[in-house]
């Protein structure tokens, strides 16, 4: 936690942690203190979706369901001044921490967290880039930098399946992420948590338009279901464009590893529903889980088999060149590492590379990201030193 500033307005801390010990506070009597950052971001603990395989894990990394909810009687976040955001935050915090939504929960006040910590949460898909940056306050309030605007995230630990963003675009963004193709489990799990939250929080809801959200593209169920897919073979054969077109025709969005506006680095794609009004959650679930996603999976597997049977030498060559570059590079950027890891992952699931687990490769997808790299190596570094450090870390992890 280099460069951590003192908490400007430390609240009385029931567990007696000191203000330097990190912005995350954990609500668990057994924990006996505030984790000093070791809970998140270290190489030691990793999210469940990275360490478990799950169904169709040769193609699917994770499934995610998020619900957008707002409190009745409050301005939406972008319009609210700082004091109103604070009130919303307080109301949500009190209820979320007391509602018993999971065994152990960690609360992070993002307006008091160092940038590196916030980036770490973005890389772990626990908060959005937008939430890391903050949103400028609505008119009428004191003007302060967007990063200082009151906002937070609650995370279930150590599995990191649940994350509840407070004061993002909507007052609440409740997200559930499980390993593999598991949309149904995610939906059941997140809906149960939503039930616990609505028992104490008065949601803005209209019988006609459903859950009212800041943006009308989310109104209705407020639900977005997405699946993170690894599609290297479809990329090699060029058929990925067909998948994208078909998805768009079915009102689905295809995005990159880090969501809206991000590239599909590492051949990782997220497919998600766009329609939230007039279609119940169960229908979206059935459509994605039982029909569309299995088709994409079959398509990718078919492309992989074609590469194996018709272009084996070229495939082996590409996979081993990637492994060679990763195990011998002395300077490497994150995007290049992701691209090479993608081929190595393909090699592992097809049995071309023995003695390496898919989980180890999945984990590297995360650890090569700038904030994680700096956390693992224990210091903040400039780009050149990050590239050196990244190359060394990959070498060590792939050759041990």
């Amino acid at each position: 936690m280099a460069g951590r500033k003192n908490n400007p307005a430390p609240e009385p801390d029931p567990q007696g942690g000191n203000p330097d010990s990190g912005s995350g506070s954990e609500r668990d009597p057994r924990a006996g203190g505030i984790p000093n950052g070791g809970t998140l971001g270290g190489a030691g603990t990793l999210a469940e979706w990275l360490t478990n395989g799950g169904e169709a894990c040769d193609v699917v990394l994770s499934s995610r369901v998020r619900l957008a909810r707002n409190l009745a009687g409050h301005l939406f976040v972008h319009r609210a001044a700082k004091d109103e955001r604070e009130r919303v935050l307080q109301t949500c915090r009190d209820w979320i921490l007391g509602a018993n939504v999971c065994d152990r929960i960690m609360w992070v006040d993002l307006h008091e967290s160092p940038q590196l910590d916030r980036n770490l949460l973005v890389e772990r898909h626990l908060i959005s880039k937008q939430h890391a940056k903050g949103k400028p306050a609505g008119s009428g309030g004191a003007v302060s930098p967007a990063a200082d605007e009151p906002r937070a995230v609650a995370i279930s630990i150590p599995d990191e399946r649940l994350s509840i963003m407070v004061n993002e675009e909507d007052h609440l963004r409740i997200q559930m992420m499980h390993a593999g193709l598991s949309l149904e489990e995610c939906w059941k799990h997140v809906s149960a948590i939503d039930d616990k939250l609505e028992a104490g929080l008065d949601y803005a809801f209209s019988p006609k338009l459903g859950y009212l959200t800041a943006c009308p593209t989310n109104v209705g169920t407020g639900m977005r279901m997405s699946v993170m897919l690894h599609l290297p073979a479809l990329k090699v054969t060029g058929e990925i464009e067909k998948v994208k077109r078909a998805a768009t025709d079915m009102n689905l969005a295809v995005r990159g590893f880090y969501g809206e506006g991000s590239d599909a680095i590492g051949d990782l794609y997220q497919i998600s529903n766009q329609t939230t009004l007039g279609k119940p959650e169960g229908a979206v679930l059935t459509e994605l889980q039982d029909s569309i996603i299995p088709e994409v999976i079959q398509y990718e597997r078919h492309a992989r088999n074609t590469l194996l049977s018709k272009r084996r030498a070229a495939l082996d060559d590409q996979v081993f060149r990637a492994l060679g570059a990763l195990t011998h590079a002395r300077l490497i950027a994150a995007d290049e590492a992701m691209q090479l890891l993608s081929l190595v992952r393909l090699g592992v699931v097809l049995g071309i590379i023995p003695n390496l687990s898919v989980q180890a490769v999945n984990t590297l997808f995360l650890l090569v990201q700038p904030a994680h790299l700096q956390r693992v190596l224990g210091k903040e570094m400039d780009q050149e030193h990050r590239r050196i450090g990244r190359a060394a870390m990959i070498r060590e992890r792939l050759t041990k």
Partner: protein, 193 residues
Amino acid sequence: MKCESCDNEATVHDTLLREGAWVEVHFCEACAAKQGIAQPGASLNDLLTNFVLPQIAGEAAKRPKPAKARTPVCAECGFTFEQFRQAGLFGCPSCYTAFESLLLPLLERAHEGAMQHVGKVPKRITEAASGKESVNGARALAERRERLEREKLLRRQLDDAVKSEQYELAAKFRDQLQRLLDSSRAADPSRNA
């Protein structure tokens, strides 16, 4: 001191804004009640309905009406449809009602032609609809909403008073707000800071 309206002893003293000027008034309890002036211990709701609201309404009536707005405005938060167009986001949940007619074509396009929610509904809505919800729960929810509404109104009035540099009035609103917040905390521990 005698009451301004009758010969009883004046026990309620207040400062009121009358036709743009501050005047001191002195009434007995009965006449004060008739005049709609709050006494210590009177409920904030009475205060609002008898005193603040007519006054605000009166002041609003005095203000020159703005030229007829070309773009619809949300009565709840003052957000305009034009602002929505620029931001792509609404100002508050009530904007959906305020802009409903303009919004429906947009929703139709964004959601494959649908204009009616199907899917999950909060339990309190389904229970209220089927009459299963306990009377106490319904009352608590209604009270909570009412408090929220009052809180919102007071905050807006406080803002307006500060903006128009009416600091005495602002101080009153501030105190009323404080009392309301204190009583909310007492009534509803989940809102405790």
